[in-house]
């Protein structure tokens, strides 16, 4: 490593643990002394996925350090949660992780149900898991599409959004809203499944498998794309666990860790599927390509789960989906940390109740926040263009980072 680079990294080191520096082979060792430069990216920048500001310290073209500045979308979720009753918090939960609103709702209602110890009807659980998995696909579609756009491919973006519309149509048929649903309520659902949804779902399964193959042909195995992403932004397994990475970010390092399998909630233990992890077929575990590849595999696994749901779905069950909703939501005094797996990783709710109708404290462990905090570690020593790819591969949602 060039001397000056080492010094800079040391002086700018944000994290206490000594940061591993990966220098790709193609960066020539520098012999010429250049001034280091501070470059500001964002908060308005097409590739920051929202309102994120990055303060990048550059040495020529090489990233010496990245200081992310967040909070441009801090919408005070935790303050709102303290001032509203348990059911009223739900619309705000939607707006937190707005790309995967159903998954966020699933996490919140699971947490409150665990606090209250409510048993939900089986049919409700099936619909919830079905919608959570559809939402996972929809969210991954956005992640894949925008990641393609960050690395220079525009067409996958259009194809991904086209497929996402089909999913949104199913949601809209069922609950009336396109994007932010307020569908899963504590103890039940707001509406029963629309009769059209199950046939649409079966249709979608077929089409989505075809699209999966198309995106693979178009993007994943494209040599240019692989060259652009493989070996870029490598994350160590130990660093990932220590730094709080979760979801595809952690699994891409080769860690088989999925809350749906390891700390099962809802009815995920009834389905058979594989936890997707990163491999060294292309690139190495923990790099940008593997993060994308894990998302592609999870898409397929979600389709598998949906297929099993369609087989097992209790069609004859005429249970009212609102039957288990408590008239007055008043949990006993106590606290709980409940976690679920959203498309971005482990979404945890730490709810402290004082026996009132309003929660005393709701603290969210947002996966995107934890994943983004690893960005400086990931991008030191790479080029600026790689920084954009690394940021795209993390798949952040600023609403969830800032809450």
């Amino acid at each position: 490593m060039p001397e000056i680079l080492e010094r800079n990294i040391h002086s700018h080191s944000l994290l206490h643990a000594s940061a591993p520096v990966h220098l790709p082979d193609r960066v020539e060792p520098k012999r010429l002394h250049t001034e280091e430069m501070v470059l500001n990216i964002g908060p308005q920048h097409p590739s920051t996925h929202g309102v994120l500001r990055l303060e990048v310290v550059l040495d020529g073209e090489v990233v010496v350090d990245v200081i992310p500045h967040i909070g441009y979308l801090h919408r005070c979720f935790e303050k709102h949660a303290e001032n509203l009753t348990y059911p009223q918090v739900l619309p705000y939960v939607d707006r937190m992780d707005y790309i995967a609103a159903m998954s966020g709702e699933h996490g919140y209602v699971t947490a409150v149900e665990r606090l209250l110890y409510i048993e939900v009807p089986e049919k409700v659980e099936y619909i919830r898991v079905l919608f959570a998995e559809l939402q996972r696909i929809a969210s991954h579609l956005i992640a894949i599409g925008t990641f393609g756009m960050d690395s220079g491919a525009f067409t996958p973006f259009l194809y991904c959004f086209r497929d996402r519309e089909t999913i949104l149509e199913m949601f809209e048929k069922t609950c009336g809203a396109r994007f932010l649903y307020n569908y899963m309520w504590v103890g039940g659902l707001s509406h029963d499944l629309h009769p059209d949804v199950l046939p649409m779902c079966r249709d979608f399964l077929k089409k989505s498998r075809a699209t999966h193959q198309e995106i693979n042909d178009l993007l994943t195995f494209n040599h240019i794309f692989v060259e652009r992403t493989a070996g870029i932004g490598v994350l160590d397994r130990e660093v990932a666990i220590n730094g709080g990475a979760s979801g595809p970010m952690l699994r891409s390092c080769g860690v088989k860790w999925d809350i749906r399998k390891d700390d099962p909630y809802s009815i995920y233990d009834r389905f058979e599927w594989e936890v997707a992890i990163g491999s060294s077929d292309r690139g190495e575990p923990g790099d940008s390509f593997n993060r994308h590849w894990v998302r592609m595999q999870e898409w397929e696994q979600s389709l598998n789960i949906i297929e099993q749901i369609l087989e097992q779905f209790p069609r004859q069950d005429a249970t009212d989906v609102q039957s288990a909703i408590p008239k007055r939501l008043k949990p006993p005094e106590g606290e709980i940390y409940s976690r679920t797996e959203t498309p971005r990783g482990e979404l945890g709710y730490y709810i402290v109740s004082n026996g009132d109708v309003k929660p005393w404290r709701v603290k969210v462990r947002s996966p995107a926040f934890s994943n983004l905090s690893l960005l400086p570690l990931l991008s030191r020593g790479y080029l600026v263009a790689d920084l954009i790819v690394i940021l795209g591969s993390i798949d952040i949602v600023l609403g969830e980072v800032d809450r």
């Binding site: 944000l14 909070g71 801090h74 945890g348 462990r365 905090s373």
Partner: protein, 167 residues
């Protein structure tokens, strides 16, 4: 390892005065596992305890799930640590309570680097100082924002940088 076993282990290593175990009396097993917590009495020993929890081979708490802060409304603040071992798949919750005037706890960033941003957020939102934090700044709000908004008696400013804030 069972949670009570972990506590026994801690108390045999650090003495009985380390803290008190508060068990949740909920019906569900999940709430008992994730709702019970260990109240650490002396914040000065937290760092030592954290290193022990991480490095002891039988415990191996290698992952900090969440670092949160609670304002109890009676002039005291708590910091809550949710820990998990990805090796043994067991969890434990630690809690430290401090009066608001002395809201200082040692930083655990050197143990789990995940704590870096979480502690900055706790400082930003709740006004808890973390001694020994490498980058002790606000994270979500601007540096000149008045007060720590998640405290229960926070009042939002009328004007901020010339913009009228309340409705």
């Amino acid at each position: 390892m069972e949670q009570l076993g972990i506590i026994e282990r801690l108390q045999s290593a650090f003495g009985e005065t380390l803290g008190v175990w508060h068990a949740s009396n909920s019906e569900s097993a999940y709430a008992r596992r994730m709702g019970s917590f260990f109240q650490v009495s002396d914040p000065a020993r937290l760092l030592e305890l954290a290193f022990f929890l991480r490095d002891e081979p039988a415990l191996a708490f290698d992952s900090l799930l969440l670092l949160s802060s609670v304002d109890h409304g009676d002039g005291s603040l708590s910091v809550v640590y949710h820990l998990e071992s990805t090796v043994y798949r067991h969890q434990i919750v630690l809690k430290i309570t401090r009066p608001m005037a002395q809201a200082r706890v040692p930083s655990v960033t050197s143990v789990w680097s995940h704590a870096n941003w979480q502690e900055r957020e706790a400082w930003d939102m709740m006004g808890i100082r973390f001694e020994g934090h490498p980058d002790h700044r606000r994270i979500l709000l601007e540096e000149d924002y008045p007060g720590h908004p998640l405290r229960k008696y926070f009042k939002e400013p009328d004007f901020y940088h010339g913009m009228k804030v309340p409705n």
